[in-house]
């Protein structure tokens, strides 16, 4: 499955607003065309990484395509057979599959947006000078460093559990069965807890890179704190926020550990997202053929969405340089 964004950045004029001055091409590009031998030599350092990535990420997809045309339940090995596109027609009429896609969007968007808002708030606090700033920063990044499975189990059993969870001990909140009454919110809050530090680190980097003179000037002009934030800080932060949202989405759309550990997709199918539904089809139902078809549809959908996302990436990573340069 290749996804070369051949690519929006090419067709686009350089975004001068963002990159003060754009480099013509990365680095020491000689002006004369390279000979084919030179081109080969240049490829050599790239090849090992490229080969291993293709072998591990692309070949399985081809195999998945092949499986998706078969009726194959692992537990009925004698009945394996070729069914062409039947798995696909099943997939498109499978309302659980559609629900899973919707849940994926809700959970990803919810977690990414909320952790960005909280992360930005934390970053604004940490951008000030106060006693013990380093300690607070260390405390704040800790949730991100906890193993995701551990975090999920911790929240499930030590926080949300209506009998012996910690939330149960808060006055007025006892006896609420968080996970079954608010399943999506429970998953999202676990994710938010883990990803707020991530957003904070990115927006904090943005805040600390603000040119001091602009802020000084604003102060001299008598701008209020809100005005300074709205007209100077926020425009500067915007690209950091976009970057955070994008990277957060890339990581969180794959959320599996939290759902597997906390709700197993339930109650009903309230928290079954695409990764979990695929897993369920493959390893609970052991319907390898059908799971493969679901996988193919998901991958195609992901490509459509991420082609769009890549356009955003390439603009974020500044014009033709793609990267932070």
């Amino acid at each position: 499955m290749t996804l070369t964004a051949s690519t929006p950045a090419d067709e686009r004029p350089p975004r001068t607003r963002r990159s003060g001055r754009r480099r013509p091409a990365p680095t020491v590009e000689p002006s004369r065309p390279l000979t084919s031998a030179q081109r080969m030599v240049r490829r050599i350092p790239l090849l090992p990484a490229l080969v291993i990535t293709i072998v591990v990420t692309q070949l399985p997809f081809l195999v998945t395509l092949w499986y998706s045309l078969q009726d194959w339940n692992l537990q009925r090995p004698d009945e394996r057979g070729f069914v062409w596109l039947r798995n696909y027609t099943d997939a498109f009429t499978d309302s659980r599959f559609r629900d899973a896609a919707l849940n994926t969007v809700t959970i990803t968007a919810g977690a990414v947006i909320i952790s960005m808002v909280l992360g930005l708030g934390c970053a604004l606090l940490l951008d000030r000078k106060f006693f013990g700033r380093g300690v607070v920063r260390t405390m704040l990044i800790s949730p991100f460093l906890i193993m995701p499975v551990a975090a999920a189990l911790l929240w499930k059993y030590a926080m949300f559990n209506p009998t012996f969870g910690l939330l149960d001990a808060l006055p007025g909140l006892d006896g609420i069965d968080w996970v079954s009454r608010f399943p999506k919110a429970s998953i999202i809050s676990t994710l938010v807890w883990q990803w707020t530090p991530f957003m904070m680190l990115i927006t904090l980097a943005g805040l600390q890179s603000q040119p001091g003179d602009a802020l000084e000037a604003a102060k001299v002009d008598g701008a209020s704190a809100w005005q300074t934030f709205r007209w100077i800080t926020f425009p500067h932060l915007r690209q950091y926020i976009e970057l955070g949202l994008l990277l957060g989405s890339i990581y969180l759309v794959q959320t599996f550990d939290a759902i597997f550990s906390i709700t197993r997709g339930g109650p009903g199918t309230a928290t079954t997202n695409l990764p979990y539904y695929l897993y369920q089809s493959a390893f609970n139902q052991t319907e390898i053929g059908y799971a493969a078809a679901l996988g193919v549809v998901t991958v195609v959908g992901t490509i459509l969405v991420s082609t769009f996302a890549l356009r955003v990436v390439s603009s974020l990573f500044t014009g033709s340089d793609v990267m932070a340069k």
């Binding site: 692992l74 090995p77 079954s180 339930g266 109650p267 052991t286």
Partner: protein, 451 residues
């Protein structure tokens, strides 16, 4: 460049440490099963009796036989997924695995399990005839025994004798579900955080699915009739599911939709519930002062019934050996040891008689030391197990074996998805009728595969 050097040094140090560790043999891998003929791999659920087994292995079994046992301990769902995956793909990673009666029927049909009958019947001192008949039958298909029970259980009703006495209630010798509902109504005291009854609500065919199906059975319902017609929306099934959901909603524990065995054990053990219908194996931890605050206050009654004579389920965690194992002999020796009388005596001496894996052997229930330790519940457990007829658990003939399950591969998924719907009904997010309509259509797909 001081900083750089520091990083390089650190990286080198870590690498060296890891390499040394790898060489010392703990995790370096290297070709799966090829190393050391004296090592077998065992996958099992992480229940307390298995944890004891893991701890006792090195000093006894390995010492006596020279066979090293490597364990992979997982929660029930993960274990089932993984072992299914391994056996179905002929992965050959495990020499012995814990499985239940559900898998035995399906996997034996696929020819995936070794027939242990010769090894068990022939072993000196193993006394296969001593294994409880209900358990042995559940693991035997066409005269071949594919697994040996490590421990077994049925289900019964546990109740707080003191709370019932305080209200002047006596538990009938053979309660019906209607009587249980009335008692639950009188014992529920929301102000003091006391639920009348604790019942599983956690999705999963082996979680909520198990007690629910026994209620369905005794209400005269069934998942499928003998011709594989799904009967999930039948009046009997609907009545049973409605009864169960209403009972737990009205008088059940807090957090019912996500409560399984552990949550109910906590609820009853910490004095937050007055009754609990669940596995007979719950009695051990309830009578253990380390985990329970209600030791000695619990009474044990048979599984409640309605239209059938007996209402309990039948489950066993049993050791089986996949045919893909290359060390069948060592695996058989391990299984003989783990499910034998001597192991029970060993646990009795080393850990305590109340912790002995029970429900698998007749002789255990004649052992005075065990009876002394398990006095409150031993007889109730044995009676309950013996009262279950795995071949005929309800009011009608069934298309496949199983009391609280239907032994076809698709049932795990059907049961899990369907209990997800019913768990949502318990949470008040949907109705029983809606849930069962969805279940029925799922059941029709399963039926189509089996007709």
């Amino acid at each position: 460049m001081l900083r750089r050097n520091r990083w390089v040094t650190a990286a080198l140090a870590v690498t060296t440490a890891a390499a040394l560790a790898a060489c010392s043999g703990a995790g370096g891998g290297g070709g799966g099963g090829t190393e050391g003929g004296g090592t077998i791999s065992v996958a099992m659920v992480g229940n307390p009796p298995m944890q004891e087994l893991e701890k006792l292995t090195a000093d006894t079994f390995t010492k006596d036989t020279g066979i090293t046992v490597k364990y992979s301990v997982l929660p029930e769902n993960e274990l089932r997924d993984k072992v299914t995956q391994d056996i179905a793909t002929q992965g050959g990673q495990y020499d012995a695995v814990t499985i239940g009666a559900y898998e035995v029927a399906i996997w034996a049909k696929n020819g995936w399990l070794t027939d242990l009958k010769p090894a068990l019947d022939g072993a000196a001192g193993y006394d296969n005839a001593d294994v409880l008949p209900a358990m042995r039958e559940a693991l035997t298909i066409d005269g071949k025994q594919y697994a040996a029970p490590f421990y077994g259980e049925s289900s019964f009703l546990m109740y707080r004798k003191d709370l019932l006495a305080a209200k002047g209630i006596t538990m009938p010798a053979k309660p019906t579900w209607q009587q249980v509902e009335q008692i639950a109504a009188r014992l529920t005291d929301r102000k003091n955080d006391m639920a009348g009854i604790c019942l599983r609500g956690l999705p999963g065919w082996g979680e909520l699915g198990a007690p629910l199906t026994t209620v369905v059975n005794t209400f005269g319902g069934t998942w499928f009739d003998k011709d594989w017609n799904p009967r999930v929306t039948s009046p009997e099934f609907t009545a049973a599911a409605t009864f169960y959901v209403d009972l737990v909603r009205k008088y059940g524990q807090l957090g019912a939709p996500s409560a399984g065995f552990s949550e109910c054990l906590t609820a009853l053990g910490q004095g937050k519930a007055a009754m609990w219908y669940d596995a007979t194996s719950a009695a051990g931890p309830l009578e253990d002062p380390a985990t329970s605050k209600v030791v000695g206050k619990i009474g044990y009654a048979p599984a409640p019934v309605y239209r059938t004579e007996s209402g309990g389920w039948l489950w066993t965690w049993a050791f089986a050996s996949p045919k893909t194992s290359k060390k069948a002999d060592a695996a058989a020796r391990f299984i003989q040891w783990a499910t034998g009388k001597e192991y029970q005596a060993l646990v009795g001496q080393k850990v305590g008689w109340a912790q002995v894996p029970a429900g698998n052997r007749t002789s255990l229930y004649a052992n005075p030391e065990y009876l002394k330790a398990a006095e409150p519940f031993a007889q109730a457990t044995l009676d309950q197990i013996n009262s279950v007829d795995p071949a005929d658990p309800g009011l009608q003939p069934r298309p496949a074996p199983g009391v609280q399950f239907v032994a076809v591969p698709e049932f795990a998924d059907l049961g899990t998805k369907c209990t997800q719907e019913l768990s949502a009904a318990i949470a008040g997010r949907s109705t029983v009728a809606d849930a069962l309509t969805k279940c029925q259509s799922l059941a029709e797909d399963v039926a189509a595969d089996n007709k």
